[in-house]
Each structure stands twice: as structure tokens, then as C-alpha cells.
Symmetry: C2
Subunit: 571 residues, 2 copies
Amino acid sequence: MLYSKMFGKTKKIVKEYNSINATLLQKAGYIDQVMAGTYTYLTLGIRVLTKIENIIREEMNTIGSEVFMPSITPISLWQQTGRFDTVDILMKTTPANKFALAKNDTEYVLNPTHEEVVTPLAQKFFTSYKDFPFAVYQIQTKFRNEPRVKSGLLRGREFRMKDLYSFHTSAEDLKKYYEKSKEVYTRVFKRLGLGKDTVIAFASGGSFTDDYSHEFQTICDTGEDILFFDKKKNIYYNREVAPSKAPVVKYHDEKILPRKDVLGKGIIGVEELAQYLKIPVEKTTKTLIFETDDNRVIAAAVRGGYDVNEDKLRKIVGCKALKLASAETVKKVTKAEVGYAGILGLPENVALYLDESVANRTNFETGANKTHYHSINVNFGRDIPQPEKFYDIKIAKEGDSSPETNEVYEVMKASEVGNIFPLYTKFSEAFNYKFIDKDGQSKPIYMGCYGIGSSRLMGIIVEKYHDDRGIIWPESVAPYKVHLIGLDMKDESIKQRVRKVYKTLEENGIEVLFDDREETTAGEKFSDADLIGIPYRLVVSKRTGDKIEMKKRGQKEMKLLDLTELLTNIE
Amino acid sequence: MLYSKMFGKTKKIVKEYNSINATLLQKAGYIDQVMAGTYTYLTLGIRVLTKIENIIREEMNTIGSEVFMPSITPISLWQQTGRFDTVDILMKTTPANKFALAKNDTEYVLNPTHEEVVTPLAQKFFTSYKDFPFAVYQIQTKFRNEPRVKSGLLRGREFRMKDLYSFHTSAEDLKKYYEKSKEVYTRVFKRLGLGKDTVIAFASGGSFTDDYSHEFQTICDTGEDILFFDKKKNIYYNREVAPSKAPVVKYHDEKILPRKDVLGKGIIGVEELAQYLKIPVEKTTKTLIFETDDNRVIAAAVRGGYDVNEDKLRKIVGCKALKLASAETVKKVTKAEVGYAGILGLPENVALYLDESVANRTNFETGANKTHYHSINVNFGRDIPQPEKFYDIKIAKEGDSSPETNEVYEVMKASEVGNIFPLYTKFSEAFNYKFIDKDGQSKPIYMGCYGIGSSRLMGIIVEKYHDDRGIIWPESVAPYKVHLIGLDMKDESIKQRVRKVYKTLEENGIEVLFDDREETTAGEKFSDADLIGIPYRLVVSKRTGDKIEMKKRGQKEMKLLDLTELLTNIE
């Protein structure tokens, strides 16, 4: 490819975006923002995206068949699973104007994921136990009604994705395939150059199961996820599910003081409260009132400095969904305005769940369940019976330990590059999709889904592989293998020489970007090459004589080679 | 690929769809209808689609750079060209439910074509005369708010398309590129196996130019377009633009009769009227009243049996748009209810355009401009002055001649497989996209757009290449080159033999679909092979001994070959 013919060019000045990938990819001419979260892939960009998708395709072909489902589908499919009215990133299509409305007024779902399409599709073809297991995948554009989109290709309203769905006659068979998929995913990330920094982390399995799902996370300083690593067990957890034990805070030889209620009007945040009461934050307590989907009202308390993890709490409480109680309910239960709830004297029908972080404290604070008041010098056994049990219902934070190994977690930032999710019978049940077993009986079908965001990966690779000059692509996904620079090209003999190199490389099946600009300085060409980040930079100029100068991006060493040596070095 | 692992299977019974392609592609397991006009491509289908798109891609790379623009884009872009409120196949996206609405209430256009995206994109990068000409293309899913979708892959609400856009500094340069694109398109259709039946036809250039656009039309009995072929000039016209001369109808030695007005209450259609008046249809006249965008009211008349071609009429009248006049206007102008308009005694400010088909008649009929009445025995020169000029404002029909060569057209059905369209400055002007010329002046940019519907092509190839047993794919787009059938596979030695053939073919880089089913009869396997339509059918069975039986789809001859001979025959 001639640089002069390429659609999209490097830019000297580019608006600084919130993310490295958006800035570098636009500066180097890979993508162009049409609106927040929505990009055009220019000549260079579509090449990288295609390479990523082809690697994914090759690996997925080992465990599934490729198909291509439509983006717009009937709303009725999404109504059948109850997701049409609840999924908050869901968009639909509608006629754009009155002429369109007159022509066809039907609305369609614009799919962000395809469980609602693939389940009835599979049902049309495969219902005998002999047909199972099977899996299908597609690589496709998806749509999400995202409100905030500021991380370049990492989060888009429109993005590219591989989604695979597997179908099984038992939970065990699903599990077996699920483990196999981990191996295949690991190969994908290895081939994309992310192998050594990509780990499998436990993540939430969603509201229909107590089981985990798994995320493939690339450890990365600019990552938007936080991982908790238990070194002893070699396990990574996404913060959202990390089991946690708070560090024990000890105040030696402390005398048990008389409890009292202190006026603290409008002082609600724990930091502010600790300062006001002149006590450490660790002595404060955060009490929240929740309502469950089965109409229970419960209270949950964590030590000051922590937050309640609703997913953990939900599983312990044993309900399908919970939400913070309304102000009205809070008032009824605590007999106080919102902000003064505490663990003392709650009604008997309000179950109280205490996080382990509130244990092992003396003279601690809690809301007084009295408007404007806080109780201090509260002690278990005296002011409230010693609880039979403490739970883990908090969001883990740095400094916490694994409850199982007592090892203090190593905490790191990471970016999700893929996820795998056991769906069990959630979708097959919604569509009443069953299989006929050997015994003639109709039985439930188990499903799994497996995602990789290909455009997102392009962004993450840039976040991971760059320096202050530009991108440093892994060879497997670089838009071209070689960036050929001709200098002094007004000299006809040099122009001929560089053209010969270009032709020879192409004839040998090597992908080359040839910077054929005649009026650009050497400095600009070198700086563009660093910005674009193609693995091999070759220079032909007066200075290189009959030879070609070769340098790898990200390295300093240069070699002067003749054409034959060059081909050997590159292949 | 093992047949048993393929997602999607042949079906014995399939609903008969309105089109051959929908029926055969679903019966053979290539596609599955999700809703009218929207299909999933199954394992076989995505392979064919990908092959078609790769051929298109290879050819387009010779005249443009690939990019990938987003499907959802800001509404403001479409408002800038005025198309947001007028294009009747345009859809937009909107949040699907109240949670989605709360998250992000912005609506976006779901693009059916990308002029509104590519023009401002090009504007960001290329503004110097040195940058021109250039062209970009993409292969992408498009969306159209189609009301009637009944032709399988030929017309979809969601479909795949290649769209290319070219940019030029002059109309001459656009013309040059436009001619070049015809050559490239011709190569594409040749490679897809449609070469000998695909012709270039003149079609409408749209409302902003008097120029033609060009369609690539594949001649095909089930085609939805009608072509008019002028053999002398070797030119094809789409019916919508075909210049036409009606056959002259002569009634020898006819006496000029006295004109009279005849009561014919409620008799409006020309067939019914001719019968009622006991005259040939050719003696009736159809007169229509139109209003133009510049507020003129005009009358247009064609001979009974013809219809007015509004596009031809618009160009002759010299306005940008016209529509049938309202009942109110018709009454005002003709002083009669709708249905009795005629060419006699129209107000002077209503220009009358007469098609050449109304000339050369004696004693003809026309509406009397009087409710319920028709004038008969009307003659030019006596009842109405002999017109200075007759026009061609009718829709051509079979039997018509080319006005230029007088040759009676050959008329045939065809299916559009591609179109190329000179856009001139329509879109560049809307975005005020100009280039800076050598002289420092800002000058207009000329654009062209060039489409090929890749999924539509898949349907057309099936319409063209099938017999009563199934599809007959051209080799270049067949999902596999070889369909290998194992028979008597319960015999272990035969199973081993057919597996060896499968392995050898795959090792030689030949794409094979291996029907590995053990419980299926030979008859079913043969009939599935014919239905699926892969070019080479191979059989290994007891009967074939050490050899392999080879037969080409669509031919009767069979050969018995050993493995080495087979490889030579296939490669």
C-alpha cells in the first residue's frame, strides 16, 4: 500500500481524548470519531480489526460453526425472555420520518447480544440428544445504548464482537465445554500478543445463578476493572465478587465507655462524621436498609470506609433482587429520617446482616435510629447481643485479605478482553426449548455464552503496547509487517531502488506500507512510522547506499542489509 | 467440514416462499428467516456470502481503499442534506424501554447508505487538489424500512452491501473514474459466474440531474426489472428511462366523423371505456393533471394502454418534482370530477404535453372535461389545433421502438446486481466540502457512488443457477468445492477409506463438505448433494472399490478415479 493512496493520514494535532487508545489511534490515522463511542475504521484501522477478527475466527472454528444472525429482529423475541422492558442498554428501531412511518410502522430490536435469536434458531434444527452438544458463533457489529462513552474503542455505542453460544444436554457437559473454551480463549489472547498479561478472573454470574462467570482480564494500568489476586491459591477475582476480610483494627487496652447518643445534625458521610466525633473512620458504621423482590425489609451494615456489595448480600439474603429501601420504608423501620439508620433497636421483622468488618471493635459508632443522632461507644454484648454470625457483604478494597487463605490480596487494574458465562437453562426455558433424550423424555437444555469484543481488543492492545512516540503493534495484528520509507526520493536512482524493494517485498507476500511521499522530511517520516507502529521499519536513502536499513519498532538497534538478507530477517 | 457438525441442515419440507432463492436456500440449509426480509446465514450461507464479498473486495481494492463506517450516526448529518425528513426507507434508533430512556435518550440514524457519513469524513482529510482523486469503499450491513419483503435475499430490511464513494476535482475526472468502475464491476460479475448474462443498463439519475445512472442487470426470468434492448445501438435501458415510440395504429380509409360528447358515467378505465364505446383501446386517451414544485399546473396525455412516466415528464417540463394534482385542482382546471379530464378546452395557463402515441389518430376519444362525459371522434386540426410538438412522456412497453433507431425493442426481465451513480456536487455542496486548487481558489468537489448488494447477489445467483433438484453454484462462490459422500459406512474398511479421502483433500487445501452420516440412505445423501449444489460430488462406497466416483453438479457423466487422478481432476 502506498501511503499516498491510504485513506486516513497521521495528524500532527489531535484533540486529546480521555483515553490513550482514542488519542493514539486517531493521531496515527487508524480511526475517526463520528460521534462519542462511534468510529470509522480507516484503511489502517480496518486492517488491524480484520486481523484480530481472523485470529478469533480461526480459533473459534475449532469449537463451533460460524453463522451470521441479523441485527434487527422482532421485539416479540425479547418480550419472551422479559428483557425487552428491562435491559437498559437496549435500543430499538423506528421509522425516521412520516414517509417512512407510512411505509412500514413496525419497530425492531437492535441487538446488543443474540441469546433471543440463537435460542429459537437452534430449536428449529436440533432437538434430539444425538444432535448435542453444538456451538455457533458470529463476528458482528453490536449496539448498546451507552450513556458515557469516553474510553475510545473500549466502550462504544456500536462495536464489533464475537459471540458464541453452546448447547448441552446436561450441566456437566456445559461445564466440560466451558473449560475447553478457556483453553481456546487463552490461545486467542496469546496470538494477539496479550498472553502473558491476560488472566482469568472470577466475575458475577448474574442474578439467575449463585455460580460465577469468568472474565479474561488483561492487566493494564489504564484498565477500568480492579482485580484482587490471591497469590496462595493463584486466583483472580473481579472486585465485584472478591471475597474479602477487612484488616483488623486494634485499639489496645481500651476501656469500655458508656454508650451515648450525640447530636450530629446533617452529618451523614462517615469521613465527616469521624472527624466530627473525633474517632477513627474504622469506628463508624454504615447501615443501609434494603427491600427484596419477595417483600422483605432487611438491614445491612459495614464498617466505615466500606460499601455494601449488593450481589454478595443478595446471595446471602437468598432473594432474586434487592434495592435500597424507599425513604418512606426507612422512616417506618428506623423511625428516623434517611441518614441516621443504625444497628440498634431495629424492629424484629427486619433481619440485620453484619459484615465481618464491624466485628472486633470496641466503643464504635452507629446511627441512632433517631433523626440527627448518632450513638457512640456502642459495644456488642452490652448494647446489642453478640451476633451469632458475621458475613462478607462488602465491596473488597485494597488491604483486604482472602478469607480462605488469609493472604492479603495483590490489587491491580485490568481491562476485560473476553468473558464466558454459563447461562444454564435461563434462555432455553424462556423459549421452551427442550431435547428428546434416549428414553423419549423431553429434558432441559443447558447453554453457555462466550464473548470477545474485537474492536475493544484493538483499543486494549494500544493501551498496552505504546510508548511516547506512538503505537507498538504485536506482529500478529499490525496493519502491515513492514513500513518502508524512501528518503531523497527526488533522486531518480534512489526512487527506483526503493520501488524495487517495495515490489520485491510485495512479491514475497510481505505486507508493506510504503511511505512514498516526496515532499515530506525524513524527520516527519520517522515520527509517522513510530506513531503508526508497524513492526519493521526499513529505510532506503542516499546514506544506505545499496543496502536497506532495518529497525524494529520499540528497539534501537539498526541493521544494514541487502535485499536477500532482508527477506531472511523478516520472514 | 463434517455434515454432522454443520449448523443448519437440509429440510425435506419447507414452506414455499414467493421466490426461488428463499425456498431453495432455506431448503438446502443456507439461510433461515427470522422475519420477512431478515435472515440468519447458517454455516453454508455465511461461507457463500464471504466468498462473494471477498471477490468484491479484491476487485474494489484495485480502485479504492477499504474503510468501515458506523451504522448508527448523528441525525444532524442527515438533516444537513435534507434527507432525514424525506427518505421513506430511513430508520432511526431510539431507547427500547424506560430504563434505556433514562440512561441515554439520544436517537441516531440507522444508515441505509453512507453519503452523509463519508462526505464529512473525506472533508477531514483531503482538501488540496493534490489529494484528488480518491475513493473509499466498505462492505457492511445496511438497513431499509421496507414494507413488502417477499423476494428472499433480493430485497431485505437488513442486507449486506458494498458501497464505494469517489471524489474528484472535475466532472470530467468523475466521468473517467466512472467508466473505469464499469470495467471493475464487469470483472466482479464475471468472477461470480454472472458475466455472460449481466449487462449495463441506463437508469434514472435521480431528481438532481438529467443525466443517467447505470445499473448492472443480470438477465433472469424471475427478475423484477424490465429491460429494453436496442439491438442496433447495443444499448439496454431500464424500463423507467427507456425512450419509446408506440407502434402506429392505422385505420385505413377512415372518414372523419362529427365529434360528440357521450355519457359514460363512472366509466374511467381505458379498457372498460373502449368496450363501452365500441372503439379500440388505442383510440382512447389518458389525460392526467399534475402540479409542479414551482407551482405550475400542467396536463399530460398518453394513448390508452400507456402510462405517464413522471421522470420523463419532469425533465421535459423542467421542474424538480411533480405530483398528481389534488382533486380540488383537477376540478378547478377541468371543471369536472376526477376521471373525466381531457385535452380539449383546458385553461390557457395549463400547458398540455402530448405523448407521441396520441398522434396519428383519427376519430379518437378523450375525456370531455365535463363530469360523466367523454368526447369521441376527436381530430387534431379540427377540434384542437394540430400540436407543434409531441413528446415522449410514456412508460415504454413491449412492442415499442427506439425513437433513435426505429428498431422494435427486445424486452426482457432482469435483476439488478449493482449500480453506479454520478452524484456530482449534491453531497459535497450540502456539507460545503470544497478543495483548494493550484490557484488557491476554493472549488466544488464531484462525487460518485457505486453499490453492489452482496447478499442480494447470493439470491440472484440461485435464481439464475438451479434446476428442479436444487442449487448449482458457480465454483467461485460455492460453499465448498467438493461434496464427499460416504456410503455403506457401517463397514469399517469403507469408513476408513472415505476418511482417508477426506483427509487427503483437506491436506491438499481443497474445501470439502463430508457427509459423514451413518444412518442416512444413499438416496437421501444424493438428493441432499443436489439440493446443496456443491460443484464436485464424490462417492466412496462398496461399489466404488478402491476408486472414487466423481460427478459434477448439473452434469450426468461420472468418472471412477483413484486418489491421485482425483486431485488432478479437481485442481
